[in-house]
């Protein structure tokens, strides 16, 4: 039953983030409102939206641990910029990060 459900989901998955993961093994890793655009194109084709900014994405099969640690978005509050280059930040678009990553 589980296999049937997953097969069914895979067959009908049409949406960007899940399709990227299921079909290509790509994780976007920087989902935030600024990376979602309203599409003015063909709604039936793109569902009315676009997922952009794939420059921090990662192949889920990648064994490079460093990529996870050092490559996430640096989104630093204005008053703290001065030390951004000099101390070790837990990086990420923090408002949208998973709790585990913030706690890490």
């Amino acid at each position: 039953m589980e296999r049937v459900c997953f097969t069914l989901m895979d067959n009908v998955t049409t949406i960007a983030h899940e399709a990227a993961y299921r079909r290509c093994g790509i994780l976007h890793r920087d989902i935030s409102p600024s990376n979602i655009l309203i599409s003015e194109g063909n709604e039936s084709k793109d569902g009315g939206g676009l997922l952009i900014d794939w420059d921090l994405c990662k192949n889920v099969n990648s064994t490079e641990h460093k990529a996870r640690c050092a490559s996430r978005t640096v989104r630093i509050e204005w008053l703290l910029i001065c030390t951004a280059v000099l101390i070790n930040w837990n990086q990420g678009t923090w408002q949208f990060m998973a709790a585990d990553l913030i706690a890490d």
């Binding site: 960007a16 983030h17 990227a20 079909r23 409102p33 979602i36 309203i38 939206g49 997922l51 001065c82």
Partner: protein, 328 residues
């Protein structure tokens, strides 16, 4: 000098003067470091942090309003100076230069005066548009502006180049509006986006200029788009061109190369300096920012298309907003 009266897009480099020694944000090397500091190179004092914040705001404005690979900054504190090289990967700071006794500061100014534009940090992939390019770009970009305030407003335009995919030594050129300074931090990817005019194809496109993470395990965005396209992933913009810009000498960040240098402070900074590489990508699909939705249905539909799986496929676009509202 008031920052409001300063046009950062015209500045070659900033010189900051602080009359009191305690305003130096950095410790003098060989002095006893503060054992409680995360990084002993930075002074843990209000005055020092204040100076560092001010310098950073100048550099943010400088890098943000121009196309620069790096900028130099001279900090004068009382009777000595420091020369700082700011790039997208961090900053390299010299030891104090006693300019009344040593000639390094004067050597710097003389060498800077004769240096090539690449060494100064100017981006060689930028040029001014020709008249006919300017007319076409103004018309196409103006058509796209939905704001009455900006429509028809005179803007400064520049031409950026991107290596043409599949062709050696050939580039495509795009007319964009000149960038303006934002509060984005000076280090990091420094992503800037533009509605642009594609000169070769005579059409409107979306150009994204950034400094990509240059480490193993993080693929180039253009390659990711190609892979997504090959697997028919929906709700993905069409990427028509992408590539690294310029050469590896000036369009690659340098700070991480000096962490282990003999003259670098010890112990080493706790930060892991991430190397970056200048990169541009061109998308033929132009979307509207999510916050400019005209009705809640547009917004929810866009989020659904970007994120949510077909689990919600049987929900129509009117039921989904109600469902999300109930969660809020």
């Amino acid at each position: 000098m008031s920052l409001e009266a300063t046009n950062s897009s015209l500045v070659e480099f900033f010189i900051e003067h602080e009359s009191q020694p305690n305003m130096d944000p950095f410790i003098v090397l060989k002095s006893k470091a503060c054992s409680l500091c995360i990084n002993p190179f930075v002074k843990d004092s209000t005055e020092g942090i204040s100076t560092l914040g001010r310098m950073t705001s100048y550099v943010t404005s400088h890098l943000g309003s121009q196309f620069r690979t790096h900028v130099f900054f001279v900090l004068i504190v009382h009777n000595y100076a420091r020369i700082i090289r700011w790039g997208r990967g961090g900053a390299v700071v010299t030891a104090p230069i006693r300019f009344n006794e040593e000639r390094h500061l004067f050597d710097f100014f003389i060498r800077y005066n004769y240096a090539k534009s690449d060494i100064r940090g100017s981006d060689s992939s930028i040029r001014a548009p020709k008249t006919e390019e300017l007319h076409a770009a103004t018309r196409l970009i103006d058509e796209f502006r939905d704001s009455g305030a900006d429509k028809g407003k005179a803007k400064k335009f520049l031409v950026v180049s991107v290596p043409r995919r599949g062709y050696n030594n050939e580039s495509d050129h795009y007319v964009i509006e000149a960038p303006f300074a934002t509060i984005s931090p000076p280090t990091g990817r420094a992503t800037r986006t533009f509605i642009a005019y594609d000169i070769r194809r005579n059409m409107r496109v979306f150009v994204r200029d950034s400094w990509r993470i240059n480490i193993i395990g993080v693929p180039k965005e253009g390659d990711s788009y190609a892979k997504l396209r090959a697997h028919n992933v929906p709700s993905i913009a069409f990427c028509s061109n992408s590539g690294d810009i310029g050469d590896d000498t000036y369009h690659t960040t340098q700070t991480h190369c000096f962490v282990d240098a003999d003259w670098a402070p010890s112990p080493k900074p706790a930060a892991e300096f991430t190397p970056h590489r200048r990169y541009r990508i061109v998308l033929d699909t132009i979307g509207t920012p999510l916050e400019r939705f005209k009705c809640s249905r547009d917004m929810v539909r866009a989020i659904r298309a970007s994120l949510i799986g077909e689990f919600f496929g049987s929900w129509n676009a009117y039921a989904l907003p109600l469902w999300i509202t109930s969660l809020l």
